[in-house]
C-alpha cells in the first residue's frame, strides 16, 4: 500500500491514463482546449466510463484505483474501441 500519494504521482497517473485512453479509446487530445494536466473533465470522464464499462469495472468516470490497476495490466496493443488502422 502506498504510504502517501504525492502530487507528482497523481500527475503521472493522469498522464498515463490520458495516453491509455488515447491509445485504446480514441481519446483525442488535439483540439481539446487544455493546458497540460487540465484536460476537459467531461471528455476524460466519458472516456473513462467507456473504458470501465468495456472492461467490466465499476463505472465511476473517475480515475480510481481499480481503473488504474487495469490500465497497468499487460495487454494487447489493438485499440478496444477504435477504427482499425
Amino acid at each position: 500500500v502506498p504510504l502517501t500519494n504525492s502530487t507528482g504521482s497523481e500527475e503521472n497517473d493522469v498522464l498515463f491514463a490520458e495516453r491509455y485512453l488515447e491509445t485504446f479509446y480514441g481519446f483525442v487530445m488535439d483540439g481539446v482546449p487544455v493546458t497540460k494536466m487540465k484536460v476537459s473533465p467531461n471528455l476524460m470522464k466519458n472516456k473513462l466510463q467507456e473504458m470501465q464499462q468495456f472492461l467490466g469495472l465499476k463505472v465511476t468516470g473517475r480515475l480510481d484505483a481499480s481503473t488504474l490497476d487495469m490500465m497497468h495490466m499487460p495487454r494487447c496493443g489493438v485499440p478496444d474501441v477504435h477504427e482499425f488502422r
Partner: protein, 368 residues
C-alpha cells in the same frame, strides 16, 4: 469482431515466423505458435500451413520499440503484442514485444496464450468485454494444458467463418477403397465416458451408445487440445466423473470433461516399475474399485481407494483372463462385462463368471 468485419476470403492460410525471441528455444516458439493456430482451426474450417520463405498471409515476429508499423512497442509491461486484422500486406501480421520475457510456462508472459489472442485479431476478432474470453484485452495466465476458448470466442470466430468442416460421407458407402470410411483394424484405446463408449485411433476419437452401432468421429485435439494424438489406453471412474488417458509413460486426467491441472504425470507415480514404457490398455472395475493395466502379455492391478498398486503383480493375462490375450489393444467395462479388443475382434468377458461370453468382429469405422 473488428470494425468493418474484415475476414479472410480463403480457407487455407499460410504463416511464417520471420524472427524469434532469444527468451525461448526456436522449437518452443514454433510449437506455441502452431498450437495457437490449432486452437482456431479446431473451431473453424480454416487451415494453416507454415512456410519458411517468402510472404505469408500472416507474418509473425518479435520486435522492440518502433518497428515500422506506426504502432511502436512501449518496453517491458504495458503493450505486450498486437496484430492486424485480415487483409493484404501487413494485414493479419502479428508482432510480439521483445521487451517482454516470453516463456512456455507460467513465468513471464506465456507465448501460447498471447499468440491465441493475437491470431484471433489476425483472423478478424476484436476485443471481448468478457473476462473469460481469450480476446479480453488484458493478459492473465491460465494453464495452457487446460486452456479452452470461451463460448464468446467461439461464437465470435464462427460468426465470421462458420464451424469446422464435417467430414463428407463417401459417395460409395460400401466401398472399402474409400479413404473416408475405413474400418479400423485395431483400436488404440477404448473407455466409457458417462453413457457413451469412446474409442481412440491415431488423431481421432469416436463415441457411440452401447446399444447403437452408429458412431461419431472427431479430432482428439478439437475436444481436448491438451491431449496428444495416439492415446494408448484410457479408463473411466464413473462415480468420480474422471477419465484417465495414457500415452507412452505419461497420463492425463479429465474430470467432468474438463482437463485437470498438473497433468501429464509419469506412470511411475502409479507404482509401475521403470521398465514399463507404455500402457497397452486399462479398465476400471467398479465392483472391486480397482483398475487393471495391461502391458504386453502381463497386467497390473491398482487399488483406486488406497491409491496403491496391489502387491503380487504383474501376472500373465492368459492365466487370469481365460480366452483373452496374450496382448490386447483396448478394453472397456460396461454392465458387468469387459470388452477386450484384439485386432478386429472384440471379446465380451463376464467379470463374475470369468469367461468369454461372446466373440465377434467389431465394426468401428472412421469417417462414416
Amino acid at each position: 469482431t473488428l470494425a468493418g468485419r474484415p475476414v479472410w476470403r480463403k480457407r487455407f492460410l499460410t504463416y511464417r515466423i520471420n524472427s524469434y525471441t532469444p527468451d525461448m528455444k526456436p522449437a518452443d516458439v514454433d510449437y506455441a505458435i502452431q498450437k495457437a493456430f490449432q486452437v482456431w482451426s479446431d473451431v473453424t474450417p480454416l487451415k494453416f500451413r507454415k512456410i519458411h520463405s517468402g510472404e505469408a498471409d500472416i507474418m509473425i515476429g518479435f520486435a522492440s520499440g518502433a518497428h515500422g508499423d506506426f504502432n511502436p512497442f512501449d518496453g517491458r509491461g504495458g503493450i505486450i503484442a498486437h496484430a492486424f486484422g485480415p487483409g493484404p500486406g501487413i494485414g493479419g501480421d502479428t508482432h510480439f514485444d521483445e521487451a517482454e520475457t516470453w516463456t512456455a510456462n507460467y513465468r513471464g508472459t506465456n507465448l501460447f496464450l498471447v499468440a491465441v489472442h493475437e491470431l484471433g485479431h489476425s483472423l478478424g476478432l476484436g476485443h471481448s468485454s468478457d473476462p473469460k474470453a481469450i480476446m479480453f484485452p488484458t493478459y492473465s495466465y491460465v494453464d495452457p494444458n487446460t486452456f479452452r476458448l470461451s463460448s464468446d470466442d467461439v461464437r465470435g470466430i464462427q460468426s465470421l467463418y462458420g464451424g469446422p468442416e464435417r467430414r463428407q460421407p463417401p459417395s460409395h458407402p460400401d466401398s472399402t477403397e474409400s479413404a473416408t470410411c475405413n474400418p479400423i483394424l485395431s483400436l488404440d484405446a477404448a473407455t466409457t465416458v458417462g453413457n457413451k463408449i469412446i474409442f481412440f485411433k491415431d488423431r481421432y476419437f469416436g463415441w457411440r451408445n452401447p446399444e447403437s452401432p452408429k458412431s461419431n468421429i472427431s479430432l482428439i485435439s478439437s475436444f481436448w487440445p491438451n491431449l496428444p494424438s495416439g492415446i494408448q489406453a484410457a479408463y473411466e471412474i464413473g462415480d468420480r466423473n474422471q477419465v484417465f488417458f495414457f500415452k507412452d509413460d505419461k497420463y492425463w486426467v479429465i474430470s467432468n470433461l474438463r482437463p485437470q491441472r498438473l497433468y501429464p504425470k509419469n506412470v511411475r507415480s502409479l507404482g509401475f516399475p521403470n521398465f514399463v514404457e507404455k500402457i497397452d490398455a486399462a479398465v476400471f472395475n467398479p465392483l472391486l474399485y480397482k483398475t487393471y493395466f495391461f502391458v504386453g502379455s502381463q497386467y497390473w492391478r491398482y487399488d483406486e481407494r488406497r491409491q496403491l498398486m496391489d502387491p503380487g503383480y504383474p501376472k500373465f493375462i492368459t492365466k487370469a483372463f481365460p480366452g483373452i490375450g496374450p496382448k490386447i489393444d483396448a478394453v472397456y467395462y460396461n454392465n458387468r462385462h469387459y470388452y477386450f479388443f484384439q485386432g478386429s475382434v472384440v471379446s465380451e468377458y463376464d467379470v463374475l463368471s470369468h469367461r468369454v461370453t461372446k466373440r465377434l468382429k467389431h465394426d468401428i469405422k472412421l469417417g462414416c
